[in-house]
């Protein structure tokens, strides 16, 4: 199978947007019955490469080869007709339609003038069964979880008898179990002779599933070949272009006085009776499965959701019903959802940066000079890259995350709750974020890091709180193991490592 002719390939492809060339002479070949992983940092050119392969964008130079013949796709529809499907990071589903209607959207089965509903129902059931997806075909898509939406997207692609399936970070929003199901499906597609291209920031997945591997950096292919030749460490080094020895900075913390004390915090419908203390200079990790109520608990704490409980900040009992009250007390929450809750994608960097601390720049009129200086400072401090006049929506995920960080810190909070600090960002930026977080702790701020990545929690936190079904099920020290966290998070037999602090 290794010698099979490529089904879809790029040959010496370049792509420019305006005067800026983002891809430089990229070669990549997908072979039938093989899974090809494409990895690289944010902004390395993965998305553009995939879009060119799926016919969403034409190359500025070079050729797209289908079965060895140069082709030009006038539209994605043409590429789809040739058996090339792409699944996007952002879902492409009609939210108000049902699962079945979405799967058959644009290719409804008909009998005469009427829809052949029984046939579509049978086909939908069949596809969902293959995906081990339990949702009813009648569910409205807007009521589905992210992972189920992903499954519906995949079902759509399966329906098309796809020869080439391009997946842009399909596992980013999936839990471990769901990821396992997805990878099983990918293997099934491979057995059926489909060529699969997928990207992921999770290198363990890449190691597990990929047959072929291409690594990109700065719009160029820096490594390509059999995936078995690379381990995770080598992949990370190739992506970043330097040795990635210590992903996590050293934990040098000298806990100071108690900054935040929470007792019996309850967020109706999400969490009950949560309590913990947090000291200055400390990083408290919060682990737990998706849906364990971590985000909601802390949103409740910061006045973003209705909540009850006893909260004191630096020994003073406080009442927080609105986020601005929290901020006035020096407590800020950094959302996990930077695109819809963190940043104004249609506005520029400056307006986003100063939104949270605009009072600082308000001298009756806004002092735009001071704003510009703050932006200079933020760009320097956080290594934000991108055109200064760009809209924030056009920045890469990593740069958006850095901007969100800078924005929150401008309000100079004493207590910072950071929800999923590195979701969907590349390993180089991740490392930078970890350094920022430890630095903030070293400055004497009190920090909570909520994360679904156990490595991250373990590598970053001084203490770890594990949540399950809206309750704190245990607290672990900095030497916690993944196994101990999983046990607490899943509610499996009480772990011997369980500690109380």
């Amino acid at each position: 199978m290794g010698d099979a002719v490529s089904v879809l390939a790029l040959r010496n492809v370049s792509r420019s947007f305006g005067p800026i060339e983002v891809l430089h002479g990229v070669d990549i070949a997908l072979r039938p019955g093989r899974v090809h992983a494409l990895i690289g940092e944010n902004g390395a050119g993965k998305s553009t490469t995939m879009k060119i392969m799926a016919g969403y964008q034409p190359p500025s130079q070079g050729e797209v080869l289908l079965d060895g013949q140069p082709v030009t796709f006038a539209s994605m529809g043409q590429a789809e007709a040739q058996g090339i499907s792409m699944i996007h990071q952002e879902f492409n589903l009609a939210e108000q339609l049902t699962v079945e209607q979405n799967i058959f959207l644009g290719r409804e089965l008909k009998r005469g003038f009427l829809l052949d509903k029984p046939a579509m129902r049978a086909r939908t059931r069949d596809l969902l069964d293959r995906l081990e997806c339990r949702v009813s075909p009648d569910r409205v898509v807007s009521t589905l979880s992210n992972s189920d939406k992903q499954m519906v997207e995949i079902a759509k692609a399966l329906l098309r008898e796809t020869r080439v399936l391009v997946m842009d970070e399909p596992t980013a929003v999936l839990t471990r179990t769901e990821t396992a199901i997805l990878l099983r499906q990918v293997r099934a597609l491979r057995e059926a002779g489909t060529a699969v291209l997928f990207t992921s920031h999770k290198l363990d997945e890449v190691e597990e599933i990929a047959d072929d591997l291409t690594i990109m950096r700065d719009g160029r292919v820096v490594w390509t070949g059999e995936a078995s030749l690379m381990d995770q460490h080598a992949m990370a080094n190739a992506m970043v272009g330097r040795e990635m020895s210590d992903l996590f900075p050293a934990k040098v913390s000298t806990p100071g006085e108690v900054a935040l004390e929470v007792r019996s915090l309850t967020v109706p419908g999400f969490s009950r009776d949560v309590g913990f203390t947090l000291r200055q200079g400390e990083v408290l990790g919060v682990a737990g499965l998706i849906g364990s109520g971590r985000t909601e608990t802390f949103e409740g704490l910061c006045g973003l959701r209705p909540a009850t409980g006893d909260v004191s900040i630096f020994g003073e009992s406080v009442r927080i019903d609105h986020p601005w009250q929290a901020q006035a007390l020096g407590l800020c929450y950094l959302t996990e959802d930077r695109k819809t809750r963190g940043l104004l994608l249609g506005k520029g960097l400056r307006e986003n940066l100063t939104l949270q601390a605009l009072a600082k720049f308000d001298r009756g009129l806004i002092d735009t000079g001071a704003e510009e200086r703050a932006l200079d400072q933020a760009i320097a401090d956080f290594d934000i890259r991108g055109h200064r006049g760009a809209l924030v929506g056009n920045l890469s995920g990593g740069n958006q995350q850095k901007l969100l960080f800078a924005k929150t810190l401008l309000a100079d909070p004493r207590i910072i709750i950071i929800d999923e600090p590195t979701r969907g960002i590349d390993i180089g930026t991740k490392q930078q974020m970890y350094v920022f977080i430890r630095k903030l702790a070293a400055e004497g701020r009190a920090i909570v890091v909520i994360s679904s990545e156990m490595q991250e929690v373990i590598g970053l936190a001084d203490r770890i709180l594990v949540m399950r079904h809206g309750r704190v099920t245990g607290e672990l020290g900095a030497d916690a193991t993944e196994d101990a966290i999983v046990r607490l998070a899943m509610g499996v037999a009480p772990s011997p490592e369980k500690e109380t602090a």
């Binding site: 947007f17 305006g18 005067p19 800026i20 983002v22 940092e41 944010n42 902004g43 390395a44 050119g45 553009t48 950096r217 700065d218 719009g219 973003l304 609105h322 986020p323 601005w324 929290a326 901020q327 800020c332 929450y333 959302t335 819809t340 809750r341 963190g342 940043l343 104004l344 994608l345 249609g346 506005k347 307006e351 939104l355 949270q356 605009l358 009072a359 720049f361 308000d362 009756g364 009129l365 806004i366 735009t368 890259r385 991108g386 055109h387 200064r388 006049g389 760009a390 809209l391 056009n394 920045l395 890469s396 990593g398 924005k407 309000a411 590349d426 180089g428």
Partner: protein, 329 residues
């Protein structure tokens, strides 16, 4: 890592130039068709007529920028006019005909406008009802109230008071009448507030994504409430200018003002779903709408009865241009 940000987006170009070009075109066309068009009398006439809708439209710009809408301004103006006239007439027997009565009337107009705006705003922000629904409701309520106050007919200001009050509409300084002066002041203040104050920045932030604003500790409800309150106050000011013109109020007063104000805002390049607002654009929008009516009256090219049709076509055209601008950005 490369900086994959395409060249700095020069967005909404056409929407910046479009309204200005349209205005220039109208002025040139007008000057060619009728020599009196650029005469002092006609120019001041056009500006004075623009003032009522214009003052309201400045407030509407803030409401729309913050992602809201207010359909009640026309009937609110009618109701305030009716209330003002009733209060002033009832004071004549005790206070006599004099400036104090008029000042009381003005205060009533301002307070009533503020109260009406606050009421809209509270219903929208505290009870979380759609702005469209709330203001559709209050539009009906105020329209009905003024009809009831006038007993189905017309409320007229006491004749002696009217002549005392008239200079507020017809008088002025250096040949520029008061409505124009007030309009200009409101526009300049509005432009400054929108462009360079925290309030203007918050309006745009809330309109582009109220969740982001909330997570950024912006007091979203309070800012929204203030936009409606300010609009109410501006309706009061516009009514103070309007009453001395005819000295009466009826169920037909302020008819369709809300649509003209919203249309002016949109023509001026403010985005209907919020997030971006331009006060000076609104002024151009108002002038365009007034000029079309004025031109049709001055020339016999097209029947003045087609005024509404032409205004409607321009509104649709403005939105089409907005979309093109966005696609380009």
């Amino acid at each position: 890592m490369s900086d994959v940000t395409a060249s700095a987006p020069r967005r909404i170009r056409m929407t910046v130039i479009g309204p200005i070009l349209a205005l220039i075109l109208l002025v040139v066309a007008g000057a060619m068709m009728n020599p009196n068009f650029l005469g002092w009398d006609n120019v001041t006439n056009v500006l004075a007529r623009s003032a009522f809708i214009g003052i309201i439209a400045v407030g509407m710009t803030f409401v729309i920028t913050a992602g809201g809408l207010d359909l009640s301004v026309g009937s609110m103006a009618a109701f305030i006019a009716g209330l003002m006239i009733l209060v002033m007439n009832s004071l004549v027997p005790t206070m006599g005909v004099g400036v104090p009565v008029i000042l009381v009337g003005m205060a009533v107009a301002l307070l009533a406008g503020l109260a009406a705006g606050l009421l809209n705003g509270i219903l929208i922000t505290r009870l979380g009802i759609e702005a469209f629904i709330v203001t559709l409701g209050s539009m009906g309520i105020y329209r009905s109230l003024v009809t009831w106050l006038a007993d189905g007919g017309t409320l007229s200001l006491d004749f002696n008071l009217r002549s005392l009050y008239q200079p507020v509409y017809y008088g002025g300084v250096f040949g520029i009448t008061w409505p124009i002066i007030v309009f200009a002041v409101v526009v300049i203040l509005g432009e400054i507030v929108m462009r360079s104050t925290a309030f203007g920045r918050y309006c745009a932030a809330i309109g582009s994504n109220d969740q982001v604003a909330r997570y950024s500790s912006v007091r979203v409800d309070r800012v929204r409430l203030l936009t409606y309150a300010a609009l109410g106050l501006l309706v009061g000011i516009a009514t103070i200018m309007y009453v001395p013109r005819l000295g009466s109020a009826s169920s037909a007063t302020g008819m369709l003002w809300e649509l003209e104000a919203i249309a002016a805002v949109i023509i001026g390049g403010t985005v209907l779903k919020g997030g971006f607002g331009r006060v000076w654009g609104t002024v151009i929008g108002v002038l365009i709408l007034t000029l079309i009516g004025n031109l049709l009256n001055l020339t016999d090219f097209v029947s003045p009865y087609l005024n509404g049709a032409i205004q409607g076509a321009i509104i649709v055209l403005a939105v089409v241009l907005q979309r093109e601008g966005k696609a380009r950005g």
